[in-house]
Symmetry: C2
Subunit: 387 residues, 2 copies
Amino acid sequence: MAGVHCRLKTNPEKPDLTLVESETPAVAAGVYTQNLVHAAPVALDRQRTPSDRIRAVVINSGNANACTGERGMDDARRMAALAAAVCGAAPEEALVMSTGVIGHFLPMDKIEQGIAAAAVKLGASPRNLESAARGILTTDTVPKIASRVVAVDGREIRVTGFAKGAAMIGPNMATLLGLVLSDALLSPQTAQDALTAAVDDSFNCISVEGHTSTNDTVLLLANGAAGGEPLAGSALAKFQNALGEVCGELARAIPADGEGVTHLVTLDVAGCATKADARKIAKTVAESALVKTAIAGADPNWGRIVSAAGYAGVPLDPDRISLRVNGTLLFDSGAPVDFDAAAVSASIRAQRDVHVDLRFGEGAASIRFWTTDLTAEYVRLNADYHT
Amino acid sequence: MAGVHCRLKTNPEKPDLTLVESETPAVAAGVYTQNLVHAAPVALDRQRTPSDRIRAVVINSGNANACTGERGMDDARRMAALAAAVCGAAPEEALVMSTGVIGHFLPMDKIEQGIAAAAVKLGASPRNLESAARGILTTDTVPKIASRVVAVDGREIRVTGFAKGAAMIGPNMATLLGLVLSDALLSPQTAQDALTAAVDDSFNCISVEGHTSTNDTVLLLANGAAGGEPLAGSALAKFQNALGEVCGELARAIPADGEGVTHLVTLDVAGCATKADARKIAKTVAESALVKTAIAGADPNWGRIVSAAGYAGVPLDPDRISLRVNGTLLFDSGAPVDFDAAAVSASIRAQRDVHVDLRFGEGAASIRFWTTDLTAEYVRLNADYHT
């Protein structure tokens, strides 16, 4: 892999195009934005995954190739074909991702130069991985990389991923992108099932402001270079676990690096009838501007959290709601509790991580969700930037 | 009616309790919060409406009587009974509303003194109306009053309302409250149908940050003092129209007075398959932090608006979306349009009102919705306030 600069971004220090090659055909799976207004690369990859023959992935930052119509589709197809060509693969054996401004056509001359430049820099060193991870960033302040090695039947299987963005928090920049690479041997359907399950508990459990991007994509490439039999049973379980950890680490890194963010909130929602209910409540609480501003102000304002749960659209008994913040009980079975508000406020102020634990009496389903606070700096960044 | 100060608020200049009496039994209808975590006065009024025998409404600000359990229900019942008593009515002939901090018991001694003080100040002058409208305010900067007179069969029917709040924008203050009074003669069911329809197109078409309060209540009292037959047919249509105008004027006044707000956005969504679809899209666009910050920054960022519509959960063809801001076409049938971005930005900056017109190709249903921008001042007000 390699990340290079091809003038999509103005700062020449910042790579803006990443090329990843698998020397042998890889199984590939994808999970995509649910936004009906989706970008050309999303439409293309959706057609091409799951697959058992992907050789290359090319990703650009600085331009989302979204809302660009037929010409955008042609550009995405051409970008994939160029990447495939430099890897000696057939045009349809490549996938493509884009992130950046919406509504502008890709400068295909720059893209072509970038792919050619990346092709001669391909390598497997940690430095290559870092340049690849940097090539997909937009307003992120740090690259996001996670790795696990699992031993399966005496073999080592590696799972390494990188990701960018935070929902759609950047000024006019869009998108969450993630690419997870493994040498595990998987069938296309197993790869798709594994990725869908991992994303469900990671990238689909984060929110900054809840604005679903046009370009969200997470891809898994697994080329089987580790050898052995296709993973199944306990071996597959170990791989799934490592994949889940890599996706979880990358997903948490996104709100943690959100613009203007001063707190990363881990939100546990438990005691729900279904996991879908738990997710709905978590998302509603996570996206309440009043909850987010309270956390920014280190205010243990339980009324905002409990009332947000109440409008999530999930049937629940208000008298069986309990809430803890940073371990302190604030609300117990539907009633306020006497607690040391100054101490809880101090505990929020003291550290970047905040733990909100919301319990219901409807069942046994639960979810862990990550979100951010909402600061004046976020507003400044997103209001003062001009297209 | 009258508004008095009874020490629920610290500032003695600010009335915090409002009493409204109908000299004859009035038909009463109510529309309430959809939040499952709802306050005691909401539960009480829900039991008592629609009705044909309401004589009094008592409203306090400064304390929401929400999340207060059985004692809260007892307090709401007692507050209604005290109001009924000073009006010479039976205990169950009064309704009650509360707004303010969540999770504190009502100071019933102050409430009792306030009701006694209001009883001796009751009157029908414009000054009484203004003190009543002020008695229900929390962080509002201005009272919100609207009035219409309609001629029906040679008689004048009056419709006068007042309201407070803005979704749940105040620091730890909750709630939208509205009270509409009329001398029209209506059956309880007609009153309920009329209010539900009017609220659907007014108070249910506004959003500040989308946080549904525990206390939202809009009541209609109509005592028939104008005389004549119970309204039906064209007479009822005229009344419905006046009621809709009063509710619309009050509803728009709420986001217009939102904390830290610098723009009031009128959002027209048209060309949808159903009105429910149009409402869902309008609400999603209105509550996108990225849309709201763009408007605060006078940035004609159509990508944020169009992509918000795309994740509203409504089936739609992206190639049939068009968007105008302040009359200028920015996005036409799924494709970007060349437009003078500086001129559109200047038009947003030049005035407090912004018009966003979003059209789809799915059908003939439409909705008009009102929302606000999102400023650093809103965040400051809601983060820096402490419970």
